[in-house]
Amino acid sequence: MGIYDIAFWILTVIAIGCALGVILSRNPINSVLFLIATFFAISGHYLLLNAQFLAIVNIIVYAGAIMVLFLFVIMLMNLNADVEPQKGRLVQLAGVVSGGALLLVLLAALRTAKYPTLESTPNEIGLIQNLGEVLFTQYVLPFEISSVLFLSAMIGAIVIGKKEDSTHSA
């Protein structure tokens, strides 16, 4: 077992364990922390897969910004384990069983999938230079289009998030 494999299995165990922690812990703050840990594990996987830039971005954007926003909202609402609503046992069981059934079906269905072999030699594609090249040549249209998405989201933040006052708006 090479060092790659050891790293893979360790990160896998951390990722799955923390993911379970997200859905099982009663305290929402713990869930957030577990999710951040999961993201770190996934970033570790990115490194193993030669996606160095993505690994960094994943931490900056997901763990750094998005999850902090979650944490912020949870604290804003002062949610904790005491006020956390719990579903009935039966409903939870049904959820676990159906999720498990989905996993089983998917694994059984995709078990025989065919792939080219995984290139074990490191490659350069995950480098920031390479990604920039691809992004600004092939993917320049989606890049521009995504600004529409941001504009929508900004409007959403204003329309939904802002307190209603009639002085500023038409």
Partner: protein, 459 residues
């Protein structure tokens, strides 16, 4: 192509208009003018693009053909009609009138992308540009708890379906190594990689969610019911139609060659959608909620076009989208005039506003698929598309049976208007201008029903 840029810029113009203009009705007027402008740009696109083989743009991110151009133009036309008919009602929803219109222009940008995307990334972005403004519009009536509830439900389920869509795209990428939808058309039915098939099913489920096909339909009644009515009208028409267009585009262009693998599953979905939509609509008391179930039922018919992998299906989906959208917007316009959205609210409308009752009747005829209205032609074309395929005769018969049931709940409204005593209360008297517009809309419905060739000969 120009239309995508134009829609974005006009959306920004509307955003800034909200900062400058204090008068709500002048904002609406501006929006109507801009919608017409956008229609002009679309027509320009249509005229300027030669009718030769489809052209790829931006490294084949987009691929523009006649269907795409016509669909964009027609949907813009429907939006123009929508702003004309419903614009006044949007004023009443909340204070951010200009923003609502800006979001509608952004949605249109998504519509254009979905009509000509050639890459899964564009599909994904298009779906999101279509959806995110909808979450906002659904929750825009902040005084109303139902509106917030609709928004949250739609958002949670929409985000979930985004995950499903992405999983599908990833699996397809895993099977082919490409995001280009034309690349998928080289998949072969025999010895198909399970990854590809899994991807197809995931994508089908995610798109089925957007078009509210059973069993992914359950958000539809609640969201349509809870959202402010003007926006429900838009969600149920243009948005749904373009989701369908995206659906059929992907499944014809990319997965046509492996259709034997997925048509069975899709036929099950179609049958379930027809059954649930039509059956559940029967029991409703609120016309608005009935219309949301009916939109599920109509989705069942539109799925026929996806099921049939041939050229007739394209024509079918376009004519269906137009006929259904126009009639639905018409009905919602009338509905918004009424104080009471239940069936009883329509009692005696024929006495009070005979013209309103008459146009409503025509719109309902169209939805029910009575001959000489657009709805009949639309149903005819999609069924014809399946018939040409020499498959799924059972589904066609089942669909006709369900169409027979649908007449029941549509006609309940007509009975209420014409045959029941009551005093249908209106918010405000209907103005002459609105009447003229409604009559024109009604004329369009009949025109499509009698001369579908006027429309289809161009496409």
């Amino acid at each position: 192509m120009k239309a995508i840029i134009a829609a974005t810029i006009l959306g920004i113009v509307m955003m800034f208009a909200g900062l400058q203009m204090k008068n709500k009705s002048s904002v609406v007027t501006l929006a109507i003018v801009l919608a017409f402008l956008l229609l002009g740009v679309n027509i320009w696109d249509l005229v300027a693009t030669p009718a030769t083989a489809p052209v790829g743009y931006f490294n084949n991110m987009l691929r523009i053909d006649r269907y795409a151009l016509w669909f964009s133009t027609l949907m813009t036309g429907v939006t123009v009609l929508y702003t004309l008919l419903v614009g006044k009602e949007i004023q009443k929803v909340g204070v951010h009138v200009a923003e609502y219109f800006a979001l509608i222009f952004f949605i249109l940008c998504g519509v254009y992308i979905l009509s000509c995307y050639n890459n899964m990334l564009m599909l994904f972005l298009g779906i999101e540009i279509l959806s995110i403004p909808q979450y906002i519009l659904a929750g825009s009536d902040k005084k109303n708890l139902k509106s917030s509830e609709a928004s949250l439900k739609y958002f949670l389920m929409g985000a979930f379906s985004t995950g499903i869509l992405l999983m599908g795209i990833t699996l397809l990428y895993g099977a082919t190594g490409s995001f280009n939808i034309v690349a998928y058309s080289f998949l072969q039915s025999d010895a198909l990689n399970p990854l590809a098939l899994g991807g197809v099913i995931f994508v089908m489920i995610a798109l089925g969610f957007k078009v509210s096909a059973a069993p992914m339909h359950m958000w539809t009644p609640d969201v349509y019911d809870g959202s402010p009515t003007p926006f429900t009208a838009y969600m149920a028409t243009v948005v749904k139609a373009s989701a369908f267009f995206a659906f059929i585009r992907l499944f014809q262009v990319s997965f046509g060659s492996i259709s034997s693998q997925w048509t069975v599953v899709l036929s099950v979905i179609t049958a379930a959608t027809l059954l649930i939509g039509n059956l559940t609509a029967v029991f409703q008391q609120s016309v608005k909620r009935m219309l949301s179930y009916s939109s599920i039922a109509q989705a069942g018919f539109m799925l026929f076009a996806v099921l049939a992998v041939n050229a007739v299906a394209w024509q079918g989906i376009i004519i269906y989208a137009v006929a259904y959208s126009i009639a639905t917007i018409g009905i919602f316009t009338v509905l918004m005039k009424l104080k009471d959205y239940t069936y009883d609210g329509f009692n005696g409308l024929a006495k009070k506003e005979p013209l309103l009752a008459f146009v409503t009747t025509i719109f309902l005829f169209s939805l029910a698929g009575i001959p000489l209205t657009g709805g009949f032609m639309a149903k005819y074309y999609v069924i014809q598309a399946v018939m040409v395929q020499n498959q799924f005769l059972w589904l066609v018969i089942f669909g006709l049976l369900m169409a027979a049931i649908s007449v029941y709940y549509y006609f309940r409204v007509i009975i209420a208007m014409y045959f029941k005593e009551g005093n249908a209360e209106l918010h405000a008297p209907v103005t002459q201008g609105e009447k003229v517009l409604l009559v024109i809309t009604c004329g369009l419905v009949i025109l499509i029903g009698i001369f579908p060739q006027l429309l289809l000969s161009w496409i």
